[in-house]
Symmetry: C2
Subunit: 124 residues, 2 copies
């Protein structure tokens, strides 16, 4: 059993994919629950090694990678696995075991939701 | 004298505004220096109270606010000031003193740069 909560940034929309939890930061002040959710995700990317690993997965051929593909960031493989787990817990990566290896994939809808949070209003 | 370094996410481009430091996370693996720069900014938004304050400034009338305008997030005014200072050090806010109050303003080019980092590739 795990204490870690999956990040509910995105809500299912009846088979139509997902919708972001929060409006752009510039639209109105965020509520406390919205900020809790979004801050968890920004925090997950707030570490240089995690950010490099996330980028390595996101830019890898086919949009997925196993630990064996992305171990060149200068930290040990257990450390790589630890950071990938954190990214997964934050909802930024999904994973799937195939044979010996666990493959990680970026959750595109979460990236899109974060991008929308940072969207600027159209010029007046 | 201060130990705090201004975040060099954006580089001047000869009076033509600024350009982002880093390509989209999905384009290629980030280098270590790029990740250091970008992680500092994500980390600054990785706290719920800071994120609410940032959103309060970003969404305030005229795109700027003083501490007097945004003290309703349930923390003391010194705490508000502390978090605004952190956001300023990360390059996300600029500030200007006018009379009694310091006014904070979102740096739009930094938001745009963060948004670009999170941009997804065009569908194939």
């Amino acid at each position: 059993m795990s204490n870690v909560q999956e990040l509910p940034l995105l809500e299912p929309t009846g088979g139509q994919g997902v919708v972001p939890c929060c409006p752009p930061l510039t639209e109105r002040p965020m509520s406390a629950p919205e900020a809790e959710t979004a801050a968890r995700m920004f925090k997950a990317l707030g570490d240089p090694v995690r950010l490099r690993l996330f980028s390595a997965v996101a830019s890898h051929e086919g949009g997925e990678a196993c630990v064996c593909d992305i171990s060149d960031v200068g930290v040990s493989q257990p450390t790589v696995s630890h950071h990938l787990k954190k990214l997964k817990e934050a909802g930024l990566l999904t994973s799937e075991r195939r044979g010996t290896w666990v493959y990680y994939r970026v959750e595109p809808s979460v990236l899109a939701a974060m991008g929308q949070l940072l969207a600027m209003p159209a010029a007046a």
